[in-house]
Chain length 334, copies 2
C-alpha cells in the first residue's frame, strides 16, 4: 500500500507537496500538480484515514445508535439509514452504528465513542418525551443533532430536524374533507406522547377550521398495534354516531382500522376514508392501499448532516419539515 512518502519519491517532490496536491491543489504550480497526480494515480495511492484523523483530530464518522424497542417496529428504519448514509457520504463522511441502553444509562456509551475519537458527533433518533440524551450531550459539549424534537421542553437543548405532525394531520383531514367526509375521527396515543399530542392537535385544529365536529371523535390507544387500532375503531363505530373518516396516528393503527371496517362489512375508501402516518412499506402492500403521510427522508437526512457538520455558529438550528400525503385506495372518494 503506497504512502505519501512513496508518492513523493516517485514524483520527485516533498511529502508535503503531495499532501497539498490533495488538500489544497491551488497552492501547486499546474505542472507540478499534474506530475504529482500522475504519480498518485500510478501508485494507486489512497490516504490513510487513521493517520489523517490523528493529525487533524476529525474522524469524519457520525455515530448512530441502532434502536431496538421490542414493542415498536421500525418500519421505515432502512429508508432512514439509507438516506442518512447517502447524505453523510455526500460530505465525505460515514455512519458508525452502535448499540446502547436507552435513556441516561446509554450515555457512557456515547461519551466513550466520542472520547476515544471514534466519532465526531451523533445523530439521535427515536426521541422520547423528556429525552435525557440531548441535555447530557450538550452539557458534555459533544456535537449532535436530533431527528425529533425533545417534547415538553420549552427551550430545546440542541439542534433538531423534525416532521410537522400537526401539519400532516391537517393535510389528512383536509384531504378527507375534500372527498366529502364530514365526521372525521382520530386514533391516537396516550397524552404522555409529545408526538401524539402534536398530531392530534393538527387534527383538532383542522376540523375546527373546516367547521367539523371533534367531540367524542378521539380515541387514545394504549399501544401501537393492529389489535388496538381495531378495538379503537370498534369503539368509535359502536358509539352510535356516524364516522366517515379516520385519521390514524400511525400506519399500524390505521391497519387496525381497516381490519375492523372490513370485518363489519364496511368498505374502506368507499364507506370510511382512512389515513395513516409514515408511509411504511405496509401501506402500499395492503389492500386497499393505505393513504399515508410520507416523511421526506432524503431531505431529513440532508438537513441532519448539514446541521451536524455545519459551522454551528450561534443558536441551535431547528427545522420543521412538511410530510407528503400519499393517496391510495383507503381514502378513495366515497
Amino acid at each position: 500500500m503506497a504512502t505519501l512518502k512513496q508518492v513523493a519519491a516517485h514524483a520527485e517532490v516533498s511529502v508535503q507537496t503531495v499532501s497539498n496536491a490533495l488538500n489544497a491543489p491551488h497552492r501547486l504550480r499546474a505542472d507540478t500538480l499534474e506530475r504529482v497526480n500522475r504519480s498518485i494515480e500510478l501508485l494507486n495511492y489512497r490516504p490513510n484515514r487513521n493517520a489523517r484523523s490523528l493529525r487533524t483530530s476529525a474522524v469524519e464518522l457520525i455515530g448512530y445508535c441502532v434502536p431496538s424497542w421490542p414493542n415498536q417496529t421500525h418500519l421505515v428504519m432502512d429508508q432512514f439509514l439509507h438516506a442518512l448514509c447517502a447524505a453523510a457520504e455526500r460530505t465525505g463522511r460515514h455512519i458508525l452504528l452502535f448499540t446502547a441502553p436507552g435513556g441516561v444509562d446509554g450515555m457512557p456509551t456515547y461519551d466513550d465513542l466520542h472520547a476515544r475519537r471514534m466519532v465526531d458527533g451523533f445523530v439521535l433518533s427515536q426521541t422520547e418525551t423528556h429525552d435525557p440524551r440531548h441535555g447530557w450531550l450538550k452539557e458534555q459539549g459533544i456535537p449532535f443533532v436530533s431527528f425529533g424534537r425533545v417534547w415538553k421542553e420549552t427551550t430545546q437543548p440542541g439542534p433538531w430536524v423534525d416532521v410537522d405532525g400537526a401539519a400532516g394531520s391537517a393535510m389528512a383531514v383536509r384531504h378527507l374533507y375534500e372527498s366529502g367526509r364530514r365526521r372525521i375521527a382520530f386514533l391516537g396515543w396516550p397524552k404522555s406522547s409529545g408526538l401524539g399530542e402534536d398530531r392530534v392537535g393538527g387534527w383538532r385544529d383542522a376540523c375546527k377550521d373546516l367547521g367539523l365536529p371533534t367531540t367524542g371523535l378521539t380515541v387514545r390507544c394504549r399501544e401501537d398495534s393492529i389489535e388496538e387500532g381495531a378495538r379503537a375503531t370498534a369503539r368509535l363505530l359502536d358509539a352510535g354516531r356516524t364516522v366517515d373518516g379516520i385519521v390514524a396516528l400511525s400506519d399500524i393503527l390505521a391497519l387496525g382500522a381497516l381490519r375492523e371496517l372490513t370485518r363489519r362489512g364496511l368498505t374502506p375508501g368507499h364507506d370510511v376514508g382512512v389515513t395513516g402516518f409514515d408511509d411504511s412499506p405496509l401501506a402500499e402492500v395492503v389492500s386497499p392501499g393505505l393513504t399515508s403521510l410520507r416523511q421526506p427522508m432524503d431531505q431529513i437526512a440532508e438537513e441532519l448532516i448539514t446541521i451536524l457538520t455545519g459551522s454551528s455558529n450561534g443558536s441551535p438550528v431547528e427545522r420543521l419539515l412538511r410530510p407528503e400525503l400519499v393517496i391510495r385506495g383507503s381514502s378513495a372518494p366515497g
Copy 2:
C-alpha cells in the same frame, strides 16, 4: 482530553508502562498496575483509537453496505443490523455503514474503504446469484464474510453463513402435514434465484418423503409482491384441484395468499394452512397471524463476526443454520 503521556506523568511511570497496563497488564508489578489504573481513572483517560489504529493498522471497524433495492422491502433489516452491531461490539468492534452501487460497479467503493484503512473487512448480504463481489474481494485479499451463499458456484469463493432454506421448507411441509393437510402447494420465484431453488427443493423433497403429490402444485411468481402472491394463489385454486396447504417462499407472497383466500370466502388456517418465510414484522401483525420461518439473527450475526475476525486459518468456513418455525393462526389445525 488526557493522553498516555499525561497519565504516565501522573503515575510517575513511562508512557509504555501505561500502554502495557491496558494491553498487557500481566507484565506489570501489581502495585505499579494499581497506581497506573488509579491515574487512568482519575484523569478519565480513554485511548485514542486513531493513534492506536495508525500504529497497529487495525481499525476494528467492519463495513456493511446498506442495501436499497427499490422493489424489495427489507423487512428484517433492522433486526439484522441490531444483531450484527451487538455481535461486533462483543469483540470490541463496530459497524461502519456505506452505500454502493450493486454488482461490480460497487467494488471500487469497497476497495476504497479498505485501502484508506477505514474498515478491516466486510460483511456482505443480499447475495445474488453469481454475485461478483465475493470473487472480487477474495482476489484483492480483502477480508469478508457473506450472509448468504454465492449460488450457482461449485466452489464458494469465501466464507459464508446462511440459513438452510430447504430445511425450512421441509419443516413447513411437515408442520402442515401434521395438522392434516395432504395437498400442499408452493409459491416461489423464477428458477434464476438460487435461494428460490433451495427452498422449493426442500418443499419437493419433504412432500416426496411424506408421499404427498407435487405435480401442478408449484407456481413461480415473477416478483415478490402481495399482488403476485394473490394471483398465484388464484391460479392454484382455479386449476380445479384441491389445495389445503400453501408454503410460500416469502412472507409477502404468503400475505398475497392470505388475501386471495379471504377474498374467496376461505378461512386461512381453517380451510387452507399457509406459511411464509423470514418472520418479518408483518407476520405477527396481520390477522390471522402468519406462520413463518424465523432466521436465527443473533446466531447468524455471531457467526459472521466470529468468522470475519477469526484466525481464518486454512479453508473458508461455511455455516448452514436452521430456521425456526413460528406457528401462528394461518396454519391453525383445520
